[in-house]
Amino acid sequence: MQLFIDQLVNGVTLGSVYALVAIGLSLIFGIVRLINFAHGEFFMLGAYILFFTFVQAQVPYGLAIVLCVVGMGLVGAIFYKIVYEPVMDRKWTAQLVATLAASVILTNAAILLFGGTQRGAPTSLSNQVLILGTLRVSYQRLLAVAVTLVAFFLLDLFITRTRIGRAMRAVSQNREVAQVVGINIRWIALVTFTVSASLAGLAAALIAPLQTISPTMGALLTLKAFAIVVIGGLGKVTGAVYAAFLVGLAESLATVYVSSEYKDAVAFLLMIAFLIWRPRGLFGQKVGI
């Protein structure tokens, strides 16, 4: 029972990180209909920004988080300009292959520039543990979950209340009509890439202190985030959030009750099950954000 509760807590933390990454992916898919293969590399770059600012330059952790978010927003904008905009009007396969190329470039450039060695960026919170009866949780995990929830809240406000957020939803619902009423698709796409890369940067800033940092850390994450996006229903942001927690919980429970070797396959098995029995995702609605 103790083990079960511990794994539930782990699952929730894992789920909140998956959610931050998957939301970005889902936003990009929902608004510009692009499957972004380089999304895990956004997370990886975010982790390196944390390493260089927090560990090497000794910037305070709070400021380092801000730098991660802003820095990745910038990376997202550059990515839009160099990778996406040139292929914007091409077939979706060409767009997908462009992001795949970008992912390979980023990973291998990171290996060549930063070296293949694993790095760590533990914060003072990583080793402090909150003890509630028999339950032990590190403060870093609590911080990750709390900040994630705040980020969801702000993102929701942004998408539902601001003018540009409404324009993003309009584009996701009907691109042509959105253009007819004067929405600039390029501008919306730029904002979408910036926001989703910053979310990946935030996820990295929160969870990298609990992991090792390496150039290849993003690869599996991209794939899992895809599985989550499919489970949640392609292009549905709220669906992706629930699916992220579902996958996080399933994965940490499977680690203990099935086998730790196969935990990385859990997300995909769930995805395949959903494709067979509920191809429209958790909530069974049409595509949209």
């Binding site: 396969t93 997908l96 970008a102 390979v104 470039i105 291998n108 396959a265 395949i272 191809p279």
Partner: protein
């Protein structure tokens, strides 16, 4: 539209798939392919040629799904890996001959393709890409962790050399085997895409709704292309396992898909000539430049981005531009 008509033309005027005037060219090409190992004894060059032959077959079978029915599969290296593992395990544990292993590998891969294809084709073109990707990832996880059978990261080793009439254990022998396989796949593809089935593939690619309206079942033809490609990849995997003598979980890795996509995009997807040229170029060039793995992948990535932007139809597009002006 244009490609559909070219395909239709070729079957009407060329009953054996080739125009009579091109027989001369093909005889020369065939003669060169046969003579090469008699003239070149450098084992490095032969190694590269064998690798190039392997990638020609590998890329052609991949293009069946990507280029002819227009579905982006990301699981091709997984089928290759299935073939390699089936062969490695059968040959080391049961000592079965190459032909049995080849058939077992191809049949198993085709069955897997059907099992993956049915759920993945269901929702949309995107879900096919994601579904095949999931399958490829699970495949690698299984190869890595099913220690009892695959030996995990320790790999399947000591695969005995195959025998077809004679034991194939030298570089020239493998060169002939691989070249024969590549040529067979090329001929098969050539006949297939000129046939009724091939025209149906292209109809599905160009316009699914229209294809359905003339009685072509898109799902059936997509599944056919996908499972044929999978069987072909597994066959190539069989030859690879014999050639290298060792099969590892990394053989199933996603980087294989990247190499294939570079080949297809450089050469021009949906064109036999383009894909063959692309495969030779992409495999041979990094070997002769003798660059490290990271630089090679970086180069592939940059090349891919540039090609997508500036040469949308690959080398094949260059041929066409020239022949039109």
């Amino acid at each position: 539209m244009q490609t559909v008509q070219r395909g239709a033309d070729s079957t009407i005027r060329r009953p054996f798939g080739f125009a009579p005037r091109s027989f001369g060219v093909w005889t020369v090409v065939g003669a060169v392919l046969v003579v090469v190992p008699q003239v070149i004894h450098d084992s490095f060059v032969l190694d590269v040629l064998i690798l190039a032959g392997l990638y020609v077959g590998f890329a052609l079978t991949y293009d069946l799904t990507v280029g002819y029915v227009g579905s982006l599969s990301l699981a091709h290296p997984a089928f290759f890996g299935i073939g390699a593992y089936v062969t490695g395990l059968l040959a080391t544990k049961l000592h079965t001959p190459i032909l049995v292993n080849l058939i077992a590998a191809a049949v198993l891969a085709a069955l897997f393709a059907v099992a993956v294809g049915i759920p993945s084709f269901r929702l949309s073109e995107y879900s096919f890409a994601v579904g095949t990707l999931g399958f490829a990832t699970v495949g690698q996880v299984v190869a890595q962790n099913w220690i009892d059978v695959t030996d995990g990261p320790l790999c399947v080793t000591n695969i005995p050399k195959p025998a077809i009439f004679v034991t194939i254990d030298s570089l020239p022998a493998f060169y002939y085997l691989m070249t024969a396989a590549a040529v067979l796949i090329l001929l098969f593809m050539h006949r297939l895409i000129g046939s009724r089935i091939g025209r149906s593939f292209k109809a599905v690619r160009e316009n699914e709704v229209m294809a359905e309206s003339v009685g072509i079942n898109p799902l059936k033809y997509k599944m056919l292309a996908f499972s044929l490609g999978a069987a072909g990849a597994a066959g190539i995997g069989t030859l690879y396992a014999y050639f290298i003598g060792i099969v590892c979980p990394t053989d199933l890795a996603l980087t294989g898909t990247l190499t294939l996509l570079v080949i297809l995009f450089i050469g021009g997807s949906g064109s036999l000539r383009g894909v063959v040229l692309g495969a030779i170029l992409v495999t041979a060039l990094p070997e002769f430049l003798r660059i490290g793995d990271q630089w090679r992948l970086l180069l592939y990535g940059v090349a891919l981005l540039l090609i997508i932007n500036f040469l949308p139809n690959g080398l094949e597009g260059l041929f066409h531009r020239r022949s039109r002006t």
